[in-house]
Amino acid sequence: MYYIFDGSYYGWLCCIFEAFERKEFSVKPITQEHYFPDMFAEVTYIHTDSKKASRVLKGLQERVGKNITLDFYRAFLFENPEVWQACFYLAVHVFKGNKNILSNFGNDAVMKFSDALRKVSRERHRMKAFVRFQQSSDGLYFAVVEPDFNVLPLIISFFKNRYTDQPWIIYDLKRNYGIYWDKISITEVILNADEVKGVVQSSTVVSLDDQEEYYKNLWHQYFKSTNIVARRNMKLHLRHVPKRYWKYLPEKNFGKD
């Protein structure tokens, strides 16, 4: 049986709520986008209800604690139906009183869950490392990223705590939303097509500060000078800085526009 939800975390939580409500446990939670019509399978459309979702969250927290509850969210951000299903399966077990299952690394669902967590965590860490702010003439620092997974929600507090005294935007171009810090609070922002174009070409909408190119150049210079040619190891270099990230790294693309 398929439960089709709206793709939000709350929507996924509601799948768990409905499963217990209807006593249906062999369920695949999936989004419309990922669903391929299957004439033999039953389909239920799940309505996202924040009250039901909160109850599920609260229930999870009571049973496994805050951190593991957060793990379900982290794994959810992997954006993969198989992982959603593994998480669903594990959450159902937790609610049925079998929370120990989470440490059974011999179990397939647990391995999928821990594998997703590892990959999401790596991507989150990469975003902490690879975000590159450019300063615009009005003092705003902005950065564009295209992470493999939807990790922006996981890096908000890191950037907020670190860059408290400067306004910034980190924009996920792949998922078309960003987070904006105005030195007081965080808000979600969505740019329209023209603005997005402007950000990517980093010229029109956001006019760069004069100093910006100067520091980009210095950083590029530093990157070259700190390299030891006699130790060249491109395989290792590429493993740590995969090519798909180069687009937004000035040390890798400066002067190549």
Binding site: N161, D165, Y215, W219, T226, I228, R231, H237
Partner: protein, 418 residues
């Protein structure tokens, strides 16, 4: 190229032989300014040599009164000289940091005039960053040997990590390359700072808001392959320094030949000993995280590490009587000694086996190097074996199947014909 760019080029180039780029171990919080220290550390990029770039690593100046043969900034070397002003270092750091290029600053310097004079300049930069820019990011500062205790103590209040390099692993080696230097002048400040760290730790248990003192601890570095010390000598020194001064890290830096007239040093064109360096780091990890004693890995009978295979595998091959280990019953300490199994997989094994005896297909999914581990462990479904497998065979099988970097070195001759 403008002047600042030129300075950055010279002074980053001169600083790059200091391999430490760690930005971990400090929990400095952002107190009403900018920046904090991430306790796990963050590598913001990697150079083409595959090394991490976490900190803006520069010398304040490469003018130096010393003439150490191994050092590119030595007095007699014909290189371009430059010096940053205090403002330049502060501006570079802040502008790089605000753009999220770096985790912080690693500041070192050639010795100009004398130790105190140099240390005073370094201290000025650090204080300006902390007090005027209200910067709370990571700072790694070189301790200048011979600087006064007062100066060192003050610096310790503002920085996250301090380090002094041993340079050559033994006193004899050092004397050959740098007659003006000795290990004693490194030990003294290492010891002084360690005492201070320990006493601050004691006090902070009693007082709640005690200022931090070098919260990310101290480190040192040894150059490998410039002088004839063997691996046993090198690791004995490292082991002793870890124990005596509570060092967070010892770095091993394969010597990269620079222009030099000293006939004792490897000349330009000689390849840096990268595999050996890697094996030393592996040994270092075994000592610090895997519960190994140095004498198990290196001793009077085994004075050099095997370059072809890693030190844990090498140890296991010398101790066939301890294997195979039954992963369903052995304790954690023994499981992490199985070649190919790391600490994380060992923890997973310990947790997972509570749910039933573990089989090979389950172990394979836990992220272990099965090709190595298989010869040293027993799972629930491993076929029972009579007697020991010959370790010579095991070694050959593992080496033939692996595609590690060390293998390339040993197989270049074969490649000629393939």
């Amino acid at each position: 190229m403008n002047r600042l760019e030129e300075k950055l080029k010279i002074l980053a180039d001169a600083a790059k032989y200091d391999v430490s780029c760690s930005s971990s171990g400090s929990k400095r919080k952002n107190i009403g300014g900018i920046g904090d220290a991430s306790s796990s550390g963050i590598c913001h990029t990697y150079t083409e040599d595959g090394r991490c770039v976490s900190l803006l690593k520069i010398l304040l100046t490469n003018h130096c009164i010393y003439d150490c043969a191994f050092c590119v900034s030595r007095k007699s070397n014909d290189v371009q000289r430059a010096a940053f002003t205090v403002e330049e270092v502060v501006n570079l750091t802040m502008n790089f940091y605000r753009r999220n290029y770096i985790e912080g600053l690693f500041l070192s310097s050639g010795i100009f005039k004398d130790a105190d004079y140099t240390m005073e300049r370094l201290l000025k930069i650090v204080k300006k960053l902390r007090l005027e820019e209200r910067y709370n990011g990571y700072i790694h500062l070189k301790t200048i040997p011979g600087a006064s205790d007062e100066m060192i103590r003050e610096a310790g209040l503002y920085v996250d990590r301090m380090s002094i390099n041993l340079e050559m692993p033994t006193e004899v080696g050092l004397k050959l390359m740098a007659p003006e230097k000795d290990h004693e002048s490194v030990k003294k400040p290492l010891n002084f700072i360690n005492q201070e760290i320990q006493s601050y730790k004691q006090e902070s248990k009693l007082i709640k808001h005690k200022p931090t003192f070098v919260p990310a601890g101290q480190s040192t570095q040894m150059v490998i392959g410039a002088t004839p010390e063997n691996d046993f000598e090198i690791m004995s020194v490292a082991d002793k320094f870890y124990k005596d001064y509570n060092l967070k890290r010892v770095y091993y830096s394969g010597y990269i030949p620079i222009q030099n007239e000293n006939s004792l040093l490897p000349q330009i064109g000689t390849k840096p000993p990268l595999v050996r360096e890697n094996r030393l780091y592996q040994t270092d990890w075994l000592l610090r995280f895997y519960g190994f004693e140095l004498k198990e890995i290196l001793n009077a009978d085994h004075q050099d590490l095997d370059l072809e295979i890693d030190p844990k595998l090498s140890w296991a091959l010398r101790n066939p009587h301890l294997f195979p280990v039954d992963i369903n019953t052995a304790d954690y300490k023994m499981i992490i000694r199985i070649p190919g199994i790391g600490r994380q997989s060992a923890l997973k094994i310990i947790q997972a086996r509570k749910f039933g005896r573990l089989h090979e297909y389950q172990i394979k999914k836990m992220g272990i190097a099965f090709n190595r581990a298989r010869y040293f462990m027993r799972c629930a479904d491993s076929p029972f074996q009579l007697g020991y497998t010959s370790m010579e065979n095991v070694r050959a099988k593992i080496v033939n199947k692996s595609s590690s970097k060390s293998k390339q070195i040993f197989s270049t001759q074969l490649n000629l014909f393939s």
